[in-house]
């Protein structure tokens, strides 16, 4: 069930169906440049290219990597659909996540490859900080938003039809007609 206020379900705070998730790492000495290169490469991969809108994990709203403190620290900040505690192990076990983690987090202190799930979990949980304040400006999951966009695109195609005004006169279509004017 969607919850209305900002609530914590384990690490991370939720608003409705969506949770925030923020990780903060220390960059290994001398590796800030190679980490920047790896992030630049990541930006060119499918899903991360601007305009792709197709990240491998389809429940993520957006994600960002931020180097800060003179490139000595790295933040990974995202919002995703679903409660953190239910999905944590799935994330750690998913191919795309692991591949991503490996190329980026190898530059972070405390990362020693991907030996096992327990080590991964410990590494991630050690870097996680819950938001002290978190707000969202629209309700809805990524899937709901994509569905809404498809429905609106279809609706706009209907409205472009020369006979749309006549077709929408049926009483059953009144809710659509209310949205048809602009």
């Amino acid at each position: 069930m969607a919850i209305s206020g900002a609530q914590s379900s384990g690490p991370g705070v939720s608003v409705g169906p969506t949770s925030e998730f923020s990780l903060f790492f220390r960059v290994k000495p001398g590796q800030s440049e190679s980490l920047r290169d790896a992030l630049n490469d990541l930006q060119q991969t499918p899903g991360y290219r601007p305009g792709d809108y197709g990240m491998a994990i389809t429940t993520i709203h957006e994600a960002r990597f931020v180097l800060f403190d003179d490139d000595t620290r790295l933040a990974f900040i995202t919002s995703f659909d679903g409660p953190w505690d239910a999905y944590m192990e799935d994330f750690f076990n998913s191919g795309p996540t692991l591949a991503l983690f490996d190329v980026i987090f190898r530059h972070a202190e405390g990362y020693d490859g991907l030996p096992d799930l327990a080590a991964e979990k410990a590494f991630i949980l050690g870097a996680q900080q819950s938001a002290a304040a978190y707000a969202r400006n629209y309700p809805g999951t990524v899937k709901e938003i994509r569905k809404a966009q498809r429905v609106n695109a279809a609706f706009q195609r209907v409205l472009d039809h020369p006979e749309a005004a006549a077709a929408l006169q049926h009483p059953a279509l009144q809710p659509l007609l209310d949205e048809a004017g602009d």
């Binding site: 409205l159 005004a165 929408l168 006169q169 048809a180 004017g181 602009d182």
Partner: protein
């Protein structure tokens, strides 16, 4: 917090052109000059400061004519303004309009490579504008300008653009223009919209607090910046035939053509705002200065009367964005002084006759970036702010290709597709119009 204390503008030091309303009818001339010799340039400025117009404009704009003088960044360099002063001007002014072209959407046919020479080049140093109610008074003022620059070796007139109000009193697209103007505190002139509190003087004139309560960044030394303002100048070619052809193709009859045109502009051709007369033109309303700008958009959030994407509503959304929480419309106002150039395309003609016609867009303000550049890039070239990121202004839009335009309507909206650009940028300059003391300072630079 901005204070409420009424400032007193030092009108005797401020060039009249900044605060002066355009007469109607009007004639005008724009000159661009190059300074080839520094001493000649300073002598030019010395002569111009003696003949430039300042002071309280006549309450009746039909009763006088005036001259405005402004300098580009290259012009200030040519005069030998010290580097520390040059560095103190707004970054956009220092870069110049041509360098800002990509940001401004002046691309494709509107790109500086296509501009009319010498617009956008380092040769443009001084801009002189003369506006008058008729040719006789124009000639009298223009003669003062001519005496200032002629017989000065080392000063070259590069470009001249004549302008005049068309016999219809309207733009080449057929619309009454120049209706809405913000009031400025201390100018003695009321706003054209009675709902509109006059702007803080620092929005338009440097050296006074602006809407943020702060003093706008001002060029140094104080005598150079104070009572000056930035003047933005663009020559915009209007493709009237393409505009008429588009309306003809989309409308069933002349009446619908007029309606579509009005929806694109936000006003009927006679000047009546859609917000007050959504169904039909009302020439009496359009020509009544007490009523033709007396409106807001708050009662029409979805744009059934005036589309949220209409040109006039984009350029000045009035109260339409007040609930957004992200924008203060008063930070994005400016004084507009645009004029028409070129012959009208005769009524009913749909084929292009090859003539150059359009608008000399002129606006005045203390903040190039958050006034002109903001309005051009965020409100005209783009539709993020109205929830339609792919829609540009239907009339002047972005230079890079076709756009669409949504006309809210019951029962269902109409969406016009594939609007080509109806306006092409032929060139432009960012200029600085100094105060009279600043011109004397420039003339007497060591």
């Amino acid at each position: 917090m901005p204070g409420n204390d009424w400032v007193t503008l030092e009108l005797d030091d401020i060039q009249s052109g900044a605060l002066h309303e355009r007469p109607s009818p009007y004639v005008g001339v724009y000159l661009l000059l190059r300074i080839d010799d520094r001493a000649a340039g300073r002598e030019l400025v010395r002569r111009l400061q003696a003949v430039v117009d300042t002071g309280t404009p006549s309450p009746d704009p039909a009763h006088d004519a005036w001259m405005t003088v402004a300098f580009t960044f290259h012009g200030l360099k040519a005069l030998g303004v010290p580097q520390s002063s040059l560095d103190s001007f707004a970054p956009e002014f220092r870069e110049g309009m041509a360098a800002r072209a990509t940001h401004l959407g002046d691309v494709g046919e509107s790109s500086p490579e296509q501009w009319e020479k010498p617009l956008g080049t380092a040769d443009v140093h001084v801009a002189i504008a003369v506006l008058a109610p008729d040719l006789a008074r124009l000639e009298a003022v223009a003669e003062r300008a001519r005496r200032a620059h002629q017989e000065l070796d080392g000063i070259t007139v590069l470009w001249r653009q004549d302008c005049y109000q068309l016999p219809t009193g309207r733009t080449s697209f057929g619309f009454k223009d120049g209706i809405g103007q913000p009031g400025v505190e201390g100018s003695g002139r009321p706003p054209s919209n009675p709902h509109d509190r006059p702007l803080k003087a620092g929005e338009i004139i440097l050296g006074y607090p602006d809407e943020t309560g702060e003093l706008p960044p001002m060029p140094t030394p104080d005598i150079l910046g104070r009572n000056g303002t930035y003047v933005i100048f663009r020559k915009l070619h209007t493709n009237v035939a393409a505009y008429r052809q588009y309306l003809r193709a989309k409308a069933a009859d002349r009446e619908e053509e007029a309606l579509l045109g009005a929806k694109m502009v936000g006003r009927w051709q006679g000047g009546a705002p859609l917000a007050l007369s959504p169904e039909r033109d009302d020439p009496d309303l359009g020509s009544d200065p007490r009523r033709n700008n007396d409106f807001l958009y708050g009662d029409d959030p979805r744009g059934f009367k005036c589309p949220v994407g209409a040109h006039a509503r984009r350029a000045n959304p009035r109260d339409a964005l007040d609930t957004d929480g992200s924008v203060d419309v008063r930070l994005h106002r400016m004084i507009r002084r645009s004029t028409s150039y070129g012959p009208p395309l005769p009524d009913g003609v749909l084929e292009d006759d090859g003539a150059d016609r359009g608008i000399i867009f002129v606006c005045v303000g203390a903040h190039i970036k958050r006034q002109f550049e903001f309005v051009k890039t965020q409100w005209l070239n783009d539709g993020i702010f109205i929830g339609a990121p792919s829609e540009a202004d239907p009339l002047v839009g972005s230079g890079d290709g076709a756009t669409s335009f949504t006309i809210p309507r019951r029962p269902i909206r109409r969406r016009l597709q594939d609007l080509p650009p109806f306006v092409t940028t032929r060139g432009g300059e960012y200029c600085f119009a100094p105060s009279l003391p600043a011109m004397r300072w420039l003339a007497e630079l060591p």
